[in-house]
């Protein structure tokens, strides 16, 4: 095991004890939602942060999976596992069909293409009323159950969501630290140089696009069977933008950044509720401040903090105990 896995293990251990330290169950809900966003942001960071390909339509894959399993299990009585499998399959299949033509576009055009796709899917959720329930949403989705075990309490669901998030994080980390991860980062800076070295850039871009859609689809399926209700607004353009913000604010090409971004941007609005009416102003100000002072994202901030703490500890250790508490200079 190397340092990277040790970090993840420590994180998993912390995540396992957190539910026992919470003052109330309300925070559990927020943590479940941030776990879902972590899955989405980690997947999107593979596409955006590593491969450098923008997607402004990721909420569509999130929603397609949620609606697919919601309709199949809620309306048609499929078992939950089959609904989820169908949701993942449909979402990734659509992602592949979209990726093939769209990834021939670059930069702003790719952003526009994915944006258009996201809006079309959103309109379908709203207008295909017989299937989706339209703007008022789709109700009656069963809770997650596996082999007869129903995950009905928030505490149980917390472990399901964060277990999935940590597993998917591990897979993403394994991808990043492989020849494929290097090829994706190469595509980010120079597709020309990457192709000279034998990287089939188009194929790799399609792969990572579909993979990140798969991550979004896992998030969508887990969302549907947690809330047991889906409506179009959850999968709007605003959600796609929120996901991009999580990736950028957390730190491009940093998987931990994606986790930090997802946690921070899920908790921030909750904290800001106390100052209602001003919350949106403060929210904006905090985002601007982050981007001004932490261009590398929250991951960079955490790294700097860690470095400062480590050097402080070292200095404290070097000062030695006999001399007593040294001054903070």
């Amino acid at each position: 095991m190397d340092g990277h896995n040790a970090g993840l293990l420590a994180f998993a251990a912390a995540a396992a004890v957190v539910p026992f330290l919470l003052p109330n169950d309300y925070y559990l809900t927020v943590l479940i939602v941030s776990g879902l966003y972590t899955i989405l942001a980690v997947g999107l960071n593979l596409l955006m942060g590593y491969a450098g390909q923008a997607s402004l339509g990721h909420a569509a894959f999130y929603g397609l999976s949620a609606y697919t399993t919601g309709i199949l299990t809620g309306t048609h009585g499929w078992p939950v596992w089959a609904g989820i499998a169908a949701g993942l399959a449909l979402s990734t299949a659509v992602a592949y069909l979209i990726a093939v033509p769209t990834l021939k576009l670059r930069g702003n055009y790719l952003a526009m293409g994915t944006l258009g796709f996201g809006i079309i899917v959103y309109i379908v959720f709203n207008e295909a009323t017989e299937l989706t329930g339209g703007p008022s949403g789709l109700t009656g989705i069963p809770k997650l159950n596996v082999a007869g075990k129903v995950f009905s309490s928030d505490r149980e669901y917390y472990y399901v969501v964060w277990g999935a998030a940590i597993l998917l994080f591990l897979l993403a980390q394994n991808l990043v630290r492989s020849r494929m991860g290097r090829a994706l980062r190469a595509i980010h800076t120079s597709e020309t140089a990457a192709s000279v070295l034998g990287v089939d850039t188009q194929r790799y871009k399609i792969f990572v696009f579909v993979l990140s859609a798969f991550y979004a689809a896992v998030g969508g399926a887990l969302y549907a069977h947690y809330v047991t209700f889906v409506s179009p607004s959850t999968f709007s353009f605003g959600t796609s933008v929120l996901l991009v913000t999580m990736v950028v604010l957390g730190g491009m090409a940093s998987l931990w950044g994606a986790v930090l971004g997802a946690l921070f941007l899920t908790f921030l609005p909750e904290w800001l509720r106390a100052i209602e009416n001003f919350d949106i102003l403060v929210y904006g100000a905090i985002l601007i401040a982050c981007m001004m002072f932490l261009p590398g994202g929250l991951a960079e901030g955490a790294e700097r903090l860690w470095g400062a703490a480590a050097s402080l500890l070292r200095r404290a250790g070097a000062a030695g105990r006999p001399a007593g508490g040294g001054s903070a200079g």
Binding site: N174, M180, S190, T192, S195, L197, D200
Partner: protein, 259 residues
């Protein structure tokens, strides 16, 4: 086929023409590069040297002509397929992966030399670890070869310009090419660096790699090349050993203007 003829026919292009609308960038260009030799391509600005590289590596689709390497046709293939045939190039305007360390850049060069797939890296199979270890050893060898070992963990963008040129060469070598195309490797280097580069390029040839080099530095070209091809206005105007080419009246006219 006799040994000598085979050697002559190792890497060759015939009748290559490339047009952009009404502009002819290359017109019936042919070249023959012997295995394990250093072929320079020179010519005034706009002669079509880099266009020829772009045609060879598949970035431009030529209008006429064919290119063969060791008996197999490589013209008309996509860039990433051309590199699978063992042709790798560097760039006049560096294309370093600035979002990676020096070592990671070189590791990326060996992309095709590992065969492990998604299952291997997702599940961290034995094959993954074995091949990654091999890539790392090869990459460190290449960095050592160009003299950049000490900087291997530095972000590549922080290297000075001259070292970035060397890094591009190390990255290309990590692909274990049969043919290495160097696009103006001495551009932007000082005299000392250029001199060291000349030695390095000769050592690359000594490793058994065929090198084709576009270069403006005539001292360097004449000192290290085995053969020189001269282009002007998209046509071959001369070819031969450095001594032959220097005496060729057509070459003198192209560079100095006719009397």
């Amino acid at each position: 086929m006799s040994g000598q003829a085979h050697k002559e026919m190792y890497f060759h292009g015939d009748g290559i023409s490339l047009r952009f609308g009404g502009v002819t960038a290359l017109s019936g260009v042919g070249f023959h590069v012997r295995r394990n030799s250093l072929q320079a391509i020179i010519g005034p600005n706009g002669a079509g040297k880099t266009s020829l590289f772009n045609v060879i590596t598949g970035f431009y689709r030529m209008d006429e002509g064919e290119i063969h390497l060791d008996g197999s046709r490589i013209s008309g293939l996509a860039p990433h397929v051309v590199s699978r045939h063992g042709i790798v190039r560097t760039f006049q305007n560096l294309e370093i992966f600035t979002n990676m360390t020096v070592l990671e850049n070189v590791l990326t060069g060996s992309h095709l030399l590992a065969g492990y797939g998604p299952l291997d890296f997702f599940l961290r199979t034995r094959r993954f670890f074995r091949e990654e270890r091999e890539l790392r050893e090869r990459a460190e060898g290449c960095l050592d070869f160009v003299g950049l070992s000490a900087h291997r963990d530095l972000p590549a963008g922080q290297l000075p310009f001259g070292s970035q040129r060397l890094l591009e060469i190390a990255r290309a070598l990590a692909a274990e090419p049969r043919v290495l195309l160097l696009d103006e490797p001495a551009a932007g280097l000082n005299m000392k660096e250029t001199s060291a580069l000349g030695g390095l390029i000769r050592r690359i040839v000594d490793r058994g790699i065929t090198v084709v080099m576009v270069e403006h530095d005539m001292d360097l070209v004449m000192r290290i090349s085995d053969r020189v091809l001269v282009l002007n206005y998209g046509e071959v105007i001369a070819g031969g050993t450095p001594a032959e080419v220097q005496k060729d009246p057509a070459v003198v006219a192209a560079y100095l203007g006719e009397e």
